[in-house]
């Protein structure tokens, strides 16, 4: 599927030069322009400052995009499920922290803009060492080895002081006074633009990697490792190289993390960070190159906004994840791609009605579910923390029966209505796809 997109973009300069290039790659270019411009939408002209919240969130998006794309080098492209990918982000971060500290101390005249290279090298080195062992296996055994490695490194990060700084982690100061462009990096917005630059670089690099012999054979080994063997490739070595390179890019993300937060602790190598990569990549979609980008943007946005309103972001993320695994394993971009043939046949309009009919019941179920979750949360956790459940000046008491009844009603009623609407939608979908197929063959 990504084949088509990859191939059309594979002949950028060969067919029609710059104009053709622009026509094919406009989504990426538009995204880049948007990324450059967007902090200014929240710029406070009276104080002359950017919104700290927005810049922080945007920086996180940039880091997450690199991280998720590097994860998809394993998951989507090589078919390797890793539970310990954060190890390379974190280790890249730790290495960068030490390098920046060394630069500050005068030992290393490295401009700050180039410090992510240290992160890349750190991530690469550790990925080579750890990957040598992990890639001896594939599928479930590989996944379990990465789980073990992840937990092992996390424990090490907590225990050992010299490299990891123990529980306190390693702090650093990004204002080293060394810069290629004479920038001080005191302001977060400056770090943000550095992140944009490195994100763009990493995206291009990882995209080009998919078009190399290694990238192609990673896909091939994923789909049919026996056939890959019989075209002369050792699937183990393919896995190994792919693993090493993905570690390098994760290290870049880690370096940018260090520069943004100026501290690296054990949670950068721990399970939840690895789970985050899995979440973003899977929800965005593993089959399309841009999938993890979409996933990263969406998850960071949701996380930032939902966390402002609720304690239960993780619950929602978990439920979203399970829904995707069960009903849409191809991810959001995969779902969009499923509409492509319908759109090409000009019949997308036929689905607008069915989708609208889904909207009502879906909203009811969503509201009911959120209500139930928040009620639970406030009943136990919130009560312990002394918080109360307020919705724009109305206080809801989770100990009363009424809110629960409302939630239950919304869930059950909305759920039943949704089932009916889903059946209608399914019928409409099948009808349209049938039409597209028959007209397709006629044409």
């Amino acid at each position: 599927m990504s084949e088509g997109a990859v191939r059309t973009a594979a002949q950028p300069l060969a067919a029609g030069g710059a104009a053709a290039f622009l026509r094919r790659q406009w989504p990426w270019l538009a995204a880049l322009v948007f990324a450059l411009v967007v902090p200014w939408f929240s710029f406070d002209w009276s104080t002359g400052r950017h919104s700290g919240f927005i810049v922080s969130m945007l920086s996180q998006i940039g880091i997450s995009i690199i991280f998720a794309l590097s994860y998809n080098m394993l998951m989507g492209q090589a078919g390797l499920l890793s539970f310990g990918h954060a190890v390379f982000l974190g280790l890249g971060g730790y290495v960068t922290a030490h390098v920046v500290n060394a630069t500050k101390g005068g030992a290393l005249p490295l401009p700050l803009e180039l410090t992510p290279i240290a992160g890349a090298l750190g991530g690469l080195a550790f990925a080579v060492v750890l990957g040598y062992f992990a890639t001896k296996q594939r599928a479930t055994a590989f996944a379990m080895i990465t789980l073990g490695i992840g937990e092992l490194i996390t424990s090490c990060a907590l225990m050992f002081q010299t490299f990891f700084g123990g529980e306190g982690g390693v702090s650093t100061n990004r204002m080293t006074g060394r810069s290629l462009f004479g920038v001080g990096y005191a302001a977060p917005i400056q770090v943000y633009y550095l992140i944009v630059a490195w994100t763009a670089l990493s995206v291009v690099a990882m995209l080009l990697l998919t078009r190399t012999p290694l990238g192609r054979m990673a896909n091939a080994s994923r789909d049919n490792f026996e056939r890959a063997q019989f075209v002369g490739y050792d699937p183990r070595m393919v896995r190994f190289f792919q693993f090493a390179l993905s570690g390098a890019f994760a290290g870049i993300a880690g370096a940018l993390y260090t520069l943004t937060y100026e501290i690296v602790t054990y949670d950068t190598v721990a399970g939840p960070m690895s789970a985050n990569a899995l979440l973003m990549t899977y929800i965005g979609g593993v089959g399309v190159f841009a999938g993890p980008v979409v996933g990263a943007v969406l998850i960071v946005l949701l996380q930032s906004w939902v966390s402002l309103l609720s304690n239960s972001w993780l619950v929602y993320a978990g439920v979203l994840f399970i829904m995707m695994v069960t009903f849409a394993p191809m991810g959001l971009t995969g779902l969009v791609m499923m509409h492509q043939p319908i759109w090409r046949a000009g019949r997308l309009g036929r689905l607008i009605g069915p989708y609208l009919r889904l909207l009502g019941p879906a909203l009811l179920v969503l509201i009911g579910f959120v209500l139930a979750v928040e009620l639970c949360s406030f009943l136990t956790i919130g009560a312990a923390q002394g918080k109360s459940f307020t919705l724009s000046r109305i206080t809801i008491d989770p100990r009363g029966a009424r809110p629960w009844l409302v939630a239950g009603l919304l869930l059950v009623g909305g759920g039943l209505w949704l089932r009916v609407a889903m059946r209608g939608f399914g019928a409409a979908w099948n009808a349209v796809t049938e039409e597209v197929k028959t007209t397709g063959t006629r044409a």
Binding site: R7, T212, P213, N219, E226, G232, Y233, D234, M237
Partner: protein
């Protein structure tokens, strides 16, 4: 004969207590077309799996051009010049037809695990792939995902991938299985053309294909060779008739 392309000496294979191959010895002359026939369960595909390194033999020796390949992993055997097709079509279903063939070429053209060449811009590579595509008559389906091809097209593609790497010893496992008469005829013509000058070993059930294509026929029954020789000889062999081919029908 000079050094045989492939030599099996008393090869044995058991799965647990079950002996599947019981002492098979076989010489395949370079450049010859060698067919292995026999009833189902005789161990023909197992023999292929042993030769191609899918699993190790329980005993005996296998030599490719005089060098032992016992215990070598499949990719190593492939790099030494032996390639195979599979009974169940084995291609890369998510890639286009062109990509499939190109992947078959990569190693033999020296690209190895390169992550610094862009395959799109490799002129010689792409020209060779296009040529191979034409050889297997799949030019019209160049950009179609391989999983969407018809069965016969997929078989043709697989043969293309099998010889793409330039292997001089080719193993084809039931290449015409499941094909109609005309499809099989096309496949045979393709195989004949494309394996010219190479050593061909194939497992086949279709006797017309065997007697059309093969120089030497080996008959395998219950893991043992019961006869080996030119097709006419095999056809007339009593033991082979009893075990497999059957006597010419008498019309009364």
């Amino acid at each position: 004969m000079s050094v045989p392309a492939l030599r099996l000496t008393d090869v044995k294979k058991s799965f647990g207590p079950t002996a599947v191959i019981m002492g098979v010895s076989l010489d395949v002359a370079p450049g010859s077309r060698h067919a292995i026939i026999g009833p189902n369960g005789a161990g023909k595909t197992t023999l292929f799996n042993l030769i191609s390194g899918r699993f190790p033999a329980s005993g005996g020796r296998i030599e490719l051009h005089g060098r032992s390949i016992d215990g070598l992993p499949p990719h190593e055997i492939n790099r030494r010049g032996l390639s195979r097709s599979f009974q169940v079509t084995s291609i890369f279903p998510r890639m286009t037809v062109f990509e499939n063939i190109r992947c078959g070429l990569l190693w033999s053209r020296g690209y190895k695990y390169s992550f610094w060449h862009l395959v799109g811009g490799q002129r010689v590579l792409n020209a060779a792939a296009a040529q191979l595509l034409a050889d297997v008559n799949l030019e019209a389906r160049r950009d179609v995902p391989a999983g969407l091809l018809t069965y016969a097209e997929q078989r043709a593609l697989e043969i293309g991938i099998t010889i793409a790497g330039g292997a001089d010893t080719v193993l084809l496992d039931e290449p015409t299985a499941g094909m109609s008469r005309s499809e099989a005829d096309h496949a045979v013509a393709l195989i004949r053309r494309i394996t010219a000058g190479k050593t061909l070993v194939m497992v086949e059930h279709d006797m017309s294909v065997v007697f059309d294509l093969a120089d030497v026929v080996t008959v395998l029954v219950y893991g043992q060779v019961i006869a080996s020789g030119p097709p006419a000889e095999i056809r007339a062999n009593r033991a082979v008739q009893d075990a497999y081919l059957g006597a010419p029908a008498e019309v009364s």
